[in-house]
Symmetry: C2
Subunit: 241 residues, 2 copies
């Protein structure tokens, strides 16, 4: 029986980190809320079903009779079950540690445009967003990018070492993809400081096992999502740092 992924039907969101792993490893899955008769309303109903282990929020994966919530937890399972992470203890904990650091930057990138409340429109917290965005661009983006550059300093080009990608490489690719989408001018200014991170982004984008997915309608466009492009939250094109 194939896995069932549950996530909002209209944005990549946190579901995308799971999709990338499933797609790159060629693991069969249903993207349940994207099935026409289900949709976001069906997702909300499914979330409220009585379960031994309920999820707090999407994404969640129904697999082998389990309902697994939290993106990093889903990926930990997929990594262990399908060999998408090192099998040894130090390696799998390292990949998990990096994935949790990705969860942190993703949450911060979201809060740039939603610094007051997820339940408010961006337009109703834009003043605060302008202020938070300046610190995110100046302090947080370089801190996270420098960390991942350092994590890649062992050479070889993959975060866990070894000859092949692990799931966290796919996730870091999507974070960089999201930062390039949301903060194109900022990234144009600082990307050169993180050559190994940018090379990893390109390497994942060109993985043969991802090409079918990346060009398919299964891949959703960025939009009103975690990573959002608002011109006023990015640096100006001519601005010097």
């Amino acid at each position: 029986m194939s896995y069932e992924l549950w996530y909002w039907s209209d944005i990549p969101g946190r579901g995308e980190f799971v999709r990338l792993a499933l797609e790159a490893a060629n693991i069969p899955y249903r993207d349940c809320a994207r099935e026409p008769q289900v949709g976001s309303q069906g997702l909300i109903e499914d979330m409220l079903r009585t379960r031994q282990h309920p999820p707090f929020a999407p994404p969640y994966l129904v697999a082998e009779g389990m309902t697994l919530g939290q993106t990093a937890n889903i990926l930990y399972f997929l990594g262990e079950r399908h060999g998408l992470a090192p099998a040894d203890l130090p390696g799998r904990l390292w990949v998990n540690q990096l994935q949790l650091t990705i969860a942190d930057i993703v949450a911060e990138a979201h809060d740039v445009h939603h610094p007051i409340a997820a339940s408010l429109y961006y337009e109703d917290q834009q003043t605060e967003a302008l202020r938070r965005a300046a610190y995110f661009r100046k302090e947080r983006m370089p801190k996270y990018l420098a960390y991942f550059e350092r994590a890649l300093s062992g050479g070889g080009g993959w975060l866990a070492g070894g000859e092949r990608w692990s799931y966290v490489d796919l996730s870091l690719y999507h974070v960089i993809f999201g930062l390039l989408y949301a903060f194109p001018h900022r990234m144009a200014m600082i990307a050169r400081d993180y050559p190994q991170v940018m090379a990893l982004h390109d390497r994942v984008a060109n993985l043969p096992e991802l090409q079918a997915y990346l060009t398919s309608p299964r891949r959703l466009a960025m939009g009103a999502d975690l990573f959002r492009h608002y011109v006023e939250l990015d640096d100006k094109p001519t601005q010097q740092t």
Copy 2:
């Protein structure tokens, strides 16, 4: 060789989640940055040391030659190695999932008083904090507390089921402890809606294996930490919801 815990020396912070597990399980450890000759400066220097697997931020645990970062990752290791979580796959993934949800509420509770930037003083983002706090109290606290109440609905009193606490029970205790400290009036109004969560808090507070720690100087006082008590960010004593 005993474990080495590295965390800021003057606040419970995220280090407290690790300390509670180490203490309750009676696992020997050094709290390195609290040793007088080390301190926060020694922590900063240690973080910059060349390591195969560098941490992004404290806490981190040096154990069996590994350096493990990210609170939930450290706890996952301790749970597996010391039997502080179920050994079966569904059980250990469930505990990890709950721990990641705790990481989410902890980050949100911090951003209540630091909605713009961690690098700014509270006083320099107080206007935004007042606004964010209202949504945290009204929307986020009930959402998280209701979720953990639901997670405890199977009865038995522990999040993973079974006869004994797992590490995530200790962490939920500390979250409730933090919410009671930071938002005493809000909690006085809503705690009755979450009887199983509050009972878990009391049960952990009274665990025989934690009493020595909870009354020792090893346990740091709350203060300029993740959970902060600012009167203006809590409900007013007489306010009705």
